[in-house]
């Protein structure tokens, strides 16, 4: 363990067979960050899968306090009779209407077609089961909350948030350049690679806010918590609004994960994944 708190750099720049400098190895991720990262990843994975199974029990979203089949939904996923009497999957978002047959609304599993909003391959458990999906969801919600609180408490006390995540003034000024670099798939090297760039900082802070938003909107769906903290209903504009926001925040988290994984691959997947397991990260030498 003592090696893990040693000062960077851990090793002199390694050399490839051909003698090129491969960059120095630094200690990038603290143990607690690595542990909570993977627990968080597991919890979110299961929460999304079980959440979509729960969504399937009533695949419509509303704004305000109330909303059932008689109220206008801003999003719905249905199976409707198609032209030849064959069902089609129809997803509606506001005025937009999409034929999503095969994925949303009307999909198949093992050659058997069925009416369900989200298909079997994405939900936990695979079969439609609201009771079990709720058990999964609430257990991993507890894990997410405890894990998240441990991360936040440590990150604030160890000044991880203040030092590594909160953007500096010069960071903010560099947003356009950083955005351009990301679009050109250009990743920082040398000294610059030893710290999070500004878009990384904003993305990670955004994720923290999204997870807090997920927990808060999730709690607002609980009639018991609503009696204890009715202000939650006012913050989110009613229980059905909270349910809609719960879905929107989850979608944004999934979007974050997709971008995150793409960036990991682009920045060097082995180095990146290793750094989140052992903490050690190889900095690529300065680009000339």
């Amino acid at each position: 363990m003592s090696a893990e708190v040693s000062q960077e750099p851990l090793a002199a720049p390694a050399r490839t067979k051909r003698g090129h400098a491969r960059g120095e190895v630094i200690y990038r991720h603290a143990f607690l960050v690595r542990l909570t990262h993977w627990l968080n990843a597991l919890a979110i994975f299961i929460l999304v899968g079980s959440g979509l199974n729960i969504f399937n029990a009533h695949p419509r979203l509303y704004w305000g306090s109330k909303g059932d089949q008689y109220d206008p939904a801003w999003l719905s996923i249905d199976s409707l009779a198609g032209p030849h009497g064959l069902p089609r999957g129809v997803t509606r978002i506001g005025w937009l209407r999409f034929d999503t047959t095969g994925v949303l609304g009307w999909s198949h599993s093992h050659g058997h077609w069925m009416a369900r909003a989200w298909p079997t391959w994405i939900t936990i458990p695979r079969f439609q089961d609201l009771a079990d999906a709720r058990h999964w969801h609430f257990m991993f919600a507890w894990i997410l909350v405890i894990n998240g609180l441990a991360y936040l408490a440590w990150s604030l006390l160890a000044r991880h948030v203040q030092r590594d995540l909160w953007p500096t003034e010069s960071d903010l000024e560099a947003i356009p350049r950083s955005a351009l670099d990301h679009l050109r798939l250009k990743h920082p090297t040398g000294e610059e690679a030893k710290r999070y760039n500004v878009l990384q900082r904003l993305a990670y802070l955004g994720l923290i806010l999204l997870v807090i938003g997920m927990v808060m909107t999730g709690l607002t769906l609980s009639p018991g918590i609503d009696a204890f903290a009715p202000w939650l209903l006012d913050v989110f504009g009613g229980r059905q609004s909270a349910r809609s926001l719960h879905f929107i925040f989850a979608s944004l988290i999934v979007f974050f994960i997709v971008v995150h994984l793409i960036e990991v691959v682009l920045a060097g997947p082995i180095n990146e994944v290793r750094s989140m397991i052992t903490g050690r990260y190889t900095v690529r030498p300065e680009r000339r």
């Binding site: 899968g49 994405i122 936990i124 695979r126 079969f127 798939l185 009639p223 997709v258 994984l261 793409i262």
Partner: protein, 267 residues
Amino acid sequence: MTLITRRSSLAAGLAGSGLLLPGCSRIFGATALTGNAAFQHVLGFAQRWTLHTQRFLLGGGQLARQFRPSDISATFKANGTLHPGGEAYAQAAGEAFADWRLAIDGMVARPLSLSVAELRGLPARTQITRHDCVEGWSAIGQWTGVPLGLLLKAAVVLPAARYAVFYCADNLEGEPAKGGEQAPGQYYESIDMDDAFHPQTLIAYAMNGRLLDVPHGAPLRLRVERQLGYKSAKYLQRIRLTDTLAGINGGRGGYWEDRGYEWYAGI
């Protein structure tokens, strides 16, 4: 050269993130785990944790939010049993439930049997509350009825009693679950003394200013406002006070509970 490498790694990244999504359940064997008794025990641990946390937070008997008349749903979705069926119920409905009685027995010093008319003669409470179905939808309605606590005081609940169990006139079909269909059964529910004596817990006989209609539970239904809709049992016939839920039907304290749902439905 480097650009091409990056493009190909971008493609690999997209493929990788795509590959991760399919088979959410398969990756962790979640579907198989769901059927595992030991894992269900772990899941049950989280349920008890939720119950104890909420009981701790709700120790002060906080009220569920009450709404304005303008918030009432134009059409309040009726769910579960829409008509209990059977000759006895049809006859009772035909007689406007004149002979319908609600029994209160079990661990009480003074068992009661009350007609609907007698209940309507007792002090009433009217409240406009939100009904949250476990499926995810909500509807707002106005309920009028006798606070259950009032009836339980009249019946003198014995100190050892821990639960009020509600027996209903309807037999309900199950739903698809665990890849199959559930067995039908007689509807019943149970709550603990915290909720039984909560001021908003009613034996309701009217909805939105009119006597309850059949789809919404005529002539009597329960309202438990800090829990999900399945706790608010319809077509009430009997309330039994007991110190244990074991031995009553599936032993888990309710029709949906016997089919896997949480007994504590405050979440």
